[in-house]
């Protein structure tokens, strides 16, 4: 793919919102793949005994919402960034309310910053995302920084 100069004009670019149903199987598979062993992540009864309405999503589950799209890299292709040039440089989460199995999450995201380091050899793209659940409750915000080599 032709390398296009990423510049500050991209700041503020908004993407179409993503709506994601948190199926129990997806939640459980993610928790297992990251080695969770506490049954509150797998077993509804244990979750309830611990005061949760049902199975809870682990802290990094938010990453799944953007990734489980038909083409999860479309947001990069749209700005001509090829996948082999991307490294994840940083990830920040702020949590307001947990995600539970069978929730429906809406994610809105935009480009928050673009800057260069090493005389322009590396471009950093900063994405800001906001997440709400089916009841309109604000559940989290994230800032994701990608390094484009």
């Amino acid at each position: 793919m032709e390398k296009k100069v990423l510049n500050k004009n991209l700041i503020g670019k908004e993407y179409p919102a993503i709506t994601f149903k948190v199926k129990k199987e997806i939640l459980v598979a993610f928790s297992r793949s990251t080695g969770q062993v506490d049954p509150i992540y797998f077993d509804e009864r244990t979750a309830k005994e611990n005061g949760y309405p049902t199975i809870i999503a682990p802290p990094t589950f938010l990453t799944v919402i953007a990734m489980q799209q038909e083409n999860p890299y479309e947001y990069l292709e749209k700005i001509n960034v090829s996948l082999d040039s991307v490294l994840h440089a940083g990830q920040d989460y702020r949590y307001f309310y947990p995600i539970f199995a069978e929730d429906v999450i809406e994610m809105k995201y935009r480009i928050d910053d673009v800057f260069q380091k090493k005389n322009g050899e590396i471009t950093f793209l900063v994405f800001q995302s906001k997440y709400k659940n089916q009841d309109g409750l604000k559940i989290a915000e994230s800032v994701s920084t990608l390094a484009i080599r």
């Binding site: 793949s33 049954p39 990453t63 799944v64 999860p72 082999d84 490294l87 940083g90 920040d92 947990p98």
Partner: protein, 145 residues
């Protein structure tokens, strides 16, 4: 699961660390399937090498998930308010990751809310830092679980 008394930590205390089996292809494949992140730099050696990497590398989010697991092993998940990672260097195949967390600040406000700030690290078996992270934990009204 019962949590130990999590209100009694002091600044400088360490939470129990988490040691992970070495990073394998199988592990990365399982994580790719579960997360939906099939970026070939995590799965395909030829692609990774063509991209200028020594071989496939682990998903940064997998390593961050281990830090998250260490945190939730000590603190109930809903006490976690902030969690961030700087991916300082790439995690390679066969890296043996250890996650550590140290309380660097404890505040108790007038309502009795306890706020801990933790410094987090994920390092490999040679002590090379892969993630430098931070977390904030809020225990409302200093209540035990």
């Amino acid at each position: 699961m019962s949590y130990k008394d999590i209100t009694k930590f002091k600044s400088g205390d360490r939470i129990p660390p988490l040691r992970i089996d070495k990073v394998s292809r199988k592990l990365l494949k399982t994580y790719a399937e579960a997360s939906g992140d099939f970026n070939p730099i995590h799965l395909d050696s030829d692609f990774a090498k063509q991209s200028g990497l020594p071989n496939i590398i682990a998903h940064g989010m997998l390593i961050m998930s281990y830090l998250g697991r260490m945190l939730t092993n000590t603190f109930p998940q809903d006490t976690l308010t902030d969690f961030s990672s700087l991916f300082v260097s790439m995690t390679h195949l066969n890296d043996k990751i250890t996650c550590t967390g140290k309380i660097i600040k404890k505040n108790t406000d007038k309502h009795g809310n306890i706020i801990y700030v933790l410094q987090l690290k994920a390092v490999n078996e040679n002590g090379e830092e892969r993630i430098s992270g931070k977390a904030k934990v809020l225990i409302r009204f200093g209540r035990l679980i």
